[in-house]
Symmetry: C2
Subunit: 700 residues, 2 copies
């Protein structure tokens, strides 16, 4: 059901409207009146005849018409009765401002369930409870006590913190920043962040979607829908608060490296959401997304009247991974015509300290005309001759003449540049308080552009033996055994096309020697026990054993020493295995995030993985392109490509391994965590080997 | 000579004073007059009788008295004559505003040399040329055209960019931020950043030193002096612009990993300088250093009236490495007495959305009284009941009652909190525009506190064979051979107490086999040529050769293959060396920075060093403590300490290796670059081995 009537109702009833200044019921009523709302307003208050010149009604029924929106501000215990009234009079949209629900404990939670049930049965949508309300400037609706009405503008905002929304409103009003909609979602008993995202996506007044969230109600559908919406409109989110999930003990490498923040990061990356660390960044980014075109590439030019800030901008641009544009010869020649001889004609273009607005304008025009430039940042410091206001006018003018290129500004200073800043704001050229802030915003837009241009996601499906995996997992779940040991983990992997090393379990030293001799030397030996997860911690792994005698010695040593360290461990023998001597050790892993599902990991393998933390995460299912991106985003990648005369590994085959694992964990939601570590990967033409693996399962 | 008279002259002559508005000579004259300067002002202008009511003089001599400060604004070519006049009349302090010197090329450079020579001979100090001038608010001196006089305050500022100083002045004036001194250093022909640092250090009005630099005149003395000054007063610097030095080709690992920025970072770390990335950060940090006490530890508590921003502050504090304070039981009990039941009594302390100022005050008092708290950040969002101004008054009051603890604030919003912010500014409680900005400033102060508390620097001197190293280096320099090869590099290292692997050079396969048999197997073989720097790149390194036959094969293979790859290389044979099979591979290195001298490097060794870039840099000479810190600042450190059942290495012996190398490169400035890679380090009780080493030398 559309949320349209929350933002554009033809009539509004305010249940709990008050005549007493300072009361929330008064604030909301007067905010509605003062916003210039053109529909009908019905204050509902049993005791008053009229408030602020409007006739009062004792209840909704006595209005005699159906208010399209009802705002409720009465005490929590009385809300269910009003909800029933809403159903009876036919209202479909209700904002519950009242607090005292889920956030105060079990009793409130029950009350919230009750009103939700009434709403669901009656086909009513609820925003709140425990919220500030909703605002739609273009429709002159301010059904909130967040503050006075902001200007209309292209940004829609949703906030899980009412206090933060009030602060944002105060800041926006001070700087003339406009919004299409503002919603405080409170306890989000019914309408949640995803409902609003979809509503904003469909809203022609909204160009940019921004918000503050502390948690996400349904991770899976959120990421799926947000990805679709992001392609049309940028989504800028602040997300705070590590959840309890991050603190969960994890037994795998992947699990211990993947905090809950990692899953959020991976989700944002997948869905193309622009993450903002603070309100300031969010404001900074939103202005640029709202008012300037998306650049086609990340080549930036800087025009400045002072060398120092120009260098600072260049440093910041380089750090942010932007490309410092190299001007065409023609542009340089033209700049030489229009600027004094002492100017700098190369990027950063220095128009000199005594530049008037005409010099800025001439430089800017020529730089923007250059095909090698996508973005221009104009810096201005207030010097003796500087014309801040006229320069701002010139920037606005030239920016309008170049509707496909991004123009931003940074006027350093305060009073001396204030008039100029006002002109920029009116002219929709975003300005920033430092070159670094400008570059940060530009980078956010460029990253979004890159995300938008990524290839279509096609997940490859490999032919596998699903039945075999099903059997192994089912057996473990029936036996209530969460950990699947090395042997069976490898059977699972083999069913999905991985190759594992040959080997068998020995129960005597003699047997170990026989197995080793059959495999050929050198061999690896590993203690075999369901109770020992990290075998190397207890001396349960020995590599490079070169002859029968060594193998027999190691068998007996493990049998003698390990029970002393772990007297309760059930030891089933020692695995004797062929040794993979060539290739690089990497880790492929998966940790299932409670919110966003399977989180794939890639990193340098062996015991180094937790030390170096050079790992990449991505949400499954992976496309070939995403698998390659995961590899490329680690430092290990350079080594994998081959350094200093060493041959590189087969990158495509490695990416395929990640995709196969991604398919496995997508098809089996029972798999909670898994590591293939080490995964030995060699040069092109060789077959990678899953040397060791572990996984844990749970009922889905 | 003291710079006192620049800031507190009893009389000032302005050569080039003008009656024409907009002219720099007019701006400076009127700035001096309007600042309320109480000394004598002498405008010098050949054509005018009087300007702004002050009698004009045709030249300095005709004043008849010695002006203590002369400000020069006439064209560059005429400056030398005026400088001579200054010498003649006995003026010792001159500010040259005029541009057109070093910055415009060779002719200007000569002119600058000329005036400097006149000054040196006459015992005159110069600020500039090509600068904005100097300001000293407490003495009512504004000998600049940077803007109107700021308030007096505890921060001294020096800037290598005049335009930036003007912008800073404009911003400071808008926010009532005060300064003790402001100096635009221009071309710094004479007075440079270090002179000013020392002057500010001795200035009782200055508590915090801040500045913007593009380069440093004398790196060595700067770092030495800055380190001494930092102990007394914090130095906050912006540094922009990578110099050409960073682009120099480097042939060693250390060199290629150490850009010029690395040297600056290391210098800042050594000298305790607080690096700022932007003007905003610098302002933010300076306020906190200037007005709040240094906290004794980094335990932070947050008091807030809104949950969301509280979580954001907690996230930011954790990211910044601050400790989130755990309140004592007694404090929690007291908070339960003074706050409503629904409040949060644990950190972050939530006083709830309807908190008046009294609730804030009660919470703040109790939290500050807790011994487990060093720092409090107060967050406020403007809600219906919020009293921004009265809350600010309470914060200021409680902050004054707790002069040993750091109190900061963040009031989110704009108009609704403006009165509160004004109270905080007056009350010297720094406030920030976001929790993240507040935490960033707090972290900067905490890092400085930690630096201040570091142990006294005592560099250990090892007994070494200096003479032997001298001979090797001298011989190379005489023969104009920059690179010292492996054998002699190792002799150098042995002279400084390092142990290197045994081995000899073979010229035939037969000889190689003999050497190997003497050493015992396995052995390593390396191609031996002064022309091959990265041996492994050409297949010139083979390890783990297990018998005579393999050794003889490898000899012949290298002799056959390598000349094909490098036909011009002079191949002297093959080194046959014992193989170090145990221990971890690390790299110890040094790159001599042209400005700051020997920059020591530590990192994971082998071919991985450039891939992982997990390295630490520090300026030599190193103390034992600094060597340990270098080790501990890498991720490799965790591996060195021992992970997953692997035994750790001898950390102390490794730190000693760094100190020995530090001594070597400090005693021999001719050594330009060197790597010990790999340096094999084993468990305690074993001797580390410098397996391979290379160094390059240059005439000092």
């Amino acid at each position: 059901m559309s949320l349209e009537k929350f933002f554009n109702p033809s009539s509004v009833a305010i249940v709990g409207a008050s005549a007493k200044k300072g009361k929330v019921g008064y604030e909301i009523l007067t905010n509605m009146i003062n916003s210039g709302y053109e529909g009908k307003i019905y204050p509902v208050n049993k005791k008053a005849e009229q408030i602020e010149g409007l006739k009062c009604y004792p209840d909704l029924k006595s209005i005699g018409k159906t208010p399209e929106l009802v705002v409720i501000i009465i005490p929590a215990a009385a809300v269910p009765a009003v909800m029933r009234e809403c159903v009876n009079v036919g209202t479909k949209s209700v904002i519950i401002i009242t607090a005292g629900f889920k956030e105060v404990g079990e009793k409130g939670r029950q009350l919230e369930q009750d009103i939700l049930q009434i709403a669901r049965q009656g086909g009513v949508r609820i925003i709140g409870p425990n919220c500030l309300g909703a605002i739609a400037p273009a429709n002159k609706v301010n059904a909130s006590f967040g503050g006075s009405m902001p200007e209309a503008g292209p940004t829609a905002y949703l906030s899980q913190s009412g206090a933060l929304l009030a602060a944002i409103l105060d800041m926006a009003n001070a700087h003339g920043i406009g919004f299409s909609k503002l919603v405080s979602i409170g306890n989000k008993a019914d309408v949640n962040e995803l409902d609003l995202l979809k509503s904003f996506a469909a809203d022609p007044e909204t160009k940019v979607i921004a918000g503050y969230l502390e948690n996400i109600t349904n991770g899976n559908s959120f990421v799926r829908e947000a990805e679709i919406i992001s392609k049309e409109k940028p989504i800028l989110l602040m997300k705070s608060g590590s959840t309890a999930a991050g603190a969960q003990a994890a037994s795998s490498h992947t699990g211990s490296l993947a905090g809950s923040e990692t899953a959020y990061e991976a989700m944002f990356t997948r869905a193309g959401i622009v993450r903002c660390d603070s309100i300031k960044h969010q404001f900074d980014f939103a202005q640029l997304f709202a008012y300037q075109p998306l650049p086609s590439d990340r080549r930036i030019a800087v025009v400045t009247n002072a060398g120092g800030p120009g260098i600072m901008a260049a440093d910041a641009a380089e750090d942010a991974g932007l490309k410092f544009a190299q001007l065409g010869d023609e542009t340089v020649d033209k700049l030489k015509e229009v600027l004094p001889a002492a100017a700098n004609f190369y990027n950063p273009i220095d128009v000199l300290g005594d530049a008037l607005s005409d010099r800025y304008e001439a430089a800017l025009k020529n730089v923007l005309a250059d095909d090698n430039v996508d973005i221009v940042l104009v810096l201005l410091t207030p010097q003796a001759m500087t014309e801040a206001e006229k320069t701002a006018e010139a920037i606005v003018r030239v920016s309008r003449e170049n509707p496909t290129k991004m123009v931003t500004a940074c006027f350093l200073g305060a009073d001396k540049v204030a008039d100029g800043l006002a002109v920029l704001e009116k002219g929709k050229v975003p300005h920033y308080d430092s070159p670094e802030s400008a570059v940060r915003a530009i980078r956010a837009v460029c990253d979004y552009v890159r995300w938008k241009a990524r290839p279509k996601r096609v997940v490859r499906l490999f032919p596998v033996n699903r039945r075999k995996v099903e059997n192994i997992i089912d057996r473990h779940l029936r036996q209530q055994s969460r950990e699947i040991g090395e042997t069976e983990s490898k059977e699972v992997l083999e069913a999905y096309g991985f190759v594992t090393p040959k080997g068998s379990i020995a129960n005597t030293a003699e047997q170990a020697g026989n197995i080793a001799s059959q495999l050929g030397y050198p061999v690896v030996m590993k203690i075999w026990s369901p109770d020992i997860i990290h075998k190397s911690d207890v001396g349960g792994v020995r590599v490079g054993l070169k002859n029968r005698r060594e193998v027999m010695d190691v068998f007996d040593l493990m049998m003698y020493r390990i029970p002393q360290k772990m007297p309760d461990a059930d030891i089933l023998g020692v695995l004797v295995q062929e040794m993979c001597t060539s290739g690089k050790e990497v880790i492929l892993g998966m940790h299932r995030d409670p919110q966003f599902g399977p989180l794939m990991m890639f990193g340098m393998g062996g015991t180094m993985v937790e030390v170096l933390q050079d790992v990449a995460f991505y949400l499954a299912p992976l496309t070939a392109d995403e698998a390659r991106q995961m590899l490329a985003s680690t430092k290990t990648y350079r080594m994998l490509r081959g350094v200093r005369g060493q041959e590189g590994v087969d990158i495509e085959v490695l990416a395929e391994g990640l995709q196969r694992l991604s398919q496995l964990v997508t098809e089996f939601p029972q798999i909670k965590e898994m590591d293939i570590n080490p995964y030995m990967i060699g040069p092109p033409g060789t077959t990678p080997i899953a040397v060791d693996a572990r996984m844990s399962v749970e009922k889905d």
